[in-house]
């Protein structure tokens, strides 16, 4: 199908983009990569009057790092994350996850913050943002604010973004010595939506877990951390017993829904399998 007719503007600055939205009286949508928005418009799930193209704003683009933080510009494309030595060094979990996002042609257009703003529960990057304790920098006409990833994803396709706000960048702490991470997902075919996916981000000291983040995707309306399992692992070595206990703790952390293809029990089982695999990978 084809999108309904709309007006299109390409502002030259972030300020201008925010102003154009404010003047549009609510019936406007920002576009950057458009890899979720354009199909939604083709299916007439969305039919805005105005599209504001922020895909080329220089202030939203690029990857930089200082001693403590990696800054991922909002419109950084998945392919740029995959190819970036900077990201590979400071946040390898992101690179590992990016390889699972859709297909190569989608990764050439889709943007990092676009994936966060869309907040698809089956998407990889929201879970990774949780696992990395990312901070999301958001601009509005009133200035900028920062929201922690754990306060950003509210419900199915629902985030802390207010109408008109734009994600400027995402900040993550650079990986410390002793940090180890892993990402994987189970899907029927490569590039399909995952039945379940998991990003693990651990900090170790002499083989003992100091901090653990376990962020699942596709097991509920938003990406979700398995906090009981996380807490249970802190202060312990990742031996077979600890891993088994963490797997069992997922019963308390996750409550997947039944759907036509995947009963809730199967999804929970697969979440346990994936957790066992990835924790095992961290010990190697």
């Amino acid at each position: 199908m084809k999108a309904r007719a709309f007006h299109y503007v390409r502002p030259q600055s972030l300020e201008e983009a925010l102003r154009v939205f404010a003047e549009a009286d609510g019936d406007a949508v920002y576009i950057a990569g458009g890899q979720s928005l354009v199909p939604a418009m083709a299916l007439r799930l969305q039919a805005p009057q105005l599209i504001i193209d922020i895909g080329r704003l220089p202030e939203l683009h690029g990857l930089t790092a200082d001693v403590n933080h990696l800054r991922i510009g909002a419109t950084t494309r998945h392919v740029e994350i995959l190819a970036s030595d900077l990201v590979r060094r400071h946040a390898p979990l992101l690179v590992e996850a990016a390889a699972h996002v859709a297909h190569p042609a989608i990764r050439n257009r889709g943007t990092f913050a676009g994936s966060l703003a869309f907040a698809d529960p089956a998407a990889e990057f929201p879970a990774v943002a949780l696992a990395l304790d990312a901070e999301i920098e958001i601009a509005s006409l009133d200035g900028t604010r920062r929201v922690a990833a754990e306060d950003f994803f509210l419900d199915l396709y629902e985030t802390a973004l207010q109408p008109g706000e734009i994600i400027v960048a995402v900040h993550v702490s650079v990986a410390l010595p002793g940090a180890r991470s892993a990402f994987d997902e189970l899907a029927r075919r490569r590039g399909d939506y995952a039945i379940v996916g998991l990003g693990v981000n651990g900090l170790f000291e002499d083989g003992v877990v100091r901090r653990m983040r376990l962020a699942f995707l596709s097991v509920g309306p938003t990406a979700v951390r398995a906090r009981t399992a996380e807490e249970l692992l802190v202060g312990r070595r990742l031996d077979a017993g600890a891993i088994r206990e963490a797997q069992e703790a997922l019963d308390a952390d996750l409550s997947p829904m039944n759907d036509e293809q995947t009963p809730a029990g199967m999804r929970l089982h697969l979440a346990r399998v994936l957790l066992g695999r990835l924790l095992g990978r961290l010990t190697r």
Binding site: M1, A3, A5, G34, Q35, I51, P104, A105, I106, R190
Partner: protein, 164 residues
């Protein structure tokens, strides 16, 4: 809402200036305005991969962007790649290996294959399959397509080694 916007796109090496309605996708613009019908439209939602073109050198879905978004960019279609002769060996391998039946998916397959062959010199079958995961073929079962891309990668590597 009948407004149109001026765009200027480099299509297959030639500058094209046109007025387009914002709702026209790049795929429809190429097919209907420029009559470049090698770019096929299957699902129109980024799933089947028949509409792939190169945007500034990288494979993208022409159905997943509006023509206005391509303003100022360089677009190359299967016609452009064919005319430049850069995929002649790949096309020959598809022919020899019968890597198509109805041919509907072939332009997208060629763009995907060209994308992966431009990026890396050696490709395993698994890497080829992964890179083709967004291209649907409903006839061949993919085996012959993977064969054709694999043999092209191999013969290009051999050729590069001989020239070095």
């Amino acid at each position: 809402m009948s407004d149109t916007l001026p765009i200027s796109i480099d299509v297959n090496g030639e500058t094209v200036e046109s007025l387009v309605a914002p709702r026209i996708t790049l795929a429809d613009f190429l097919r209907q305005e420029l009559e470049l019908t090698g770019t096929h439209l299957g699902c129109e939602m980024g799933v089947c991969g028949a509409c792939l073109v190169l945007l500034d050198g990288k494979p993208v879905h022409a159905c997943l962007m509006f023509a206005v978004q391509a303003d100022g960019c360089a677009v190359e279609t299967v016609e452009g790649l064919t005319r430049r002769g850069v995929i002649a060996d790949l096309q020959k391998a598809f022919h020899e290996r019968n890597a198509l039946q109805c041919g509907f998916c072939t332009p997208g397959m060629l763009i995907s294959a060209h994308g992966m062959l431009s990026e890396r010199r050696t490709l395993s079958r698994e890497e080829i399959r992964d890179a083709l995961s967004g291209n649907y073929c409903r006839c061949t079962g993919y085996e012959a397509i993977v064969d054709a891309i694999e043999s092209t990668a191999r013969s290009r590597t051999t050729k590069a080694a001989e020239e070095a």
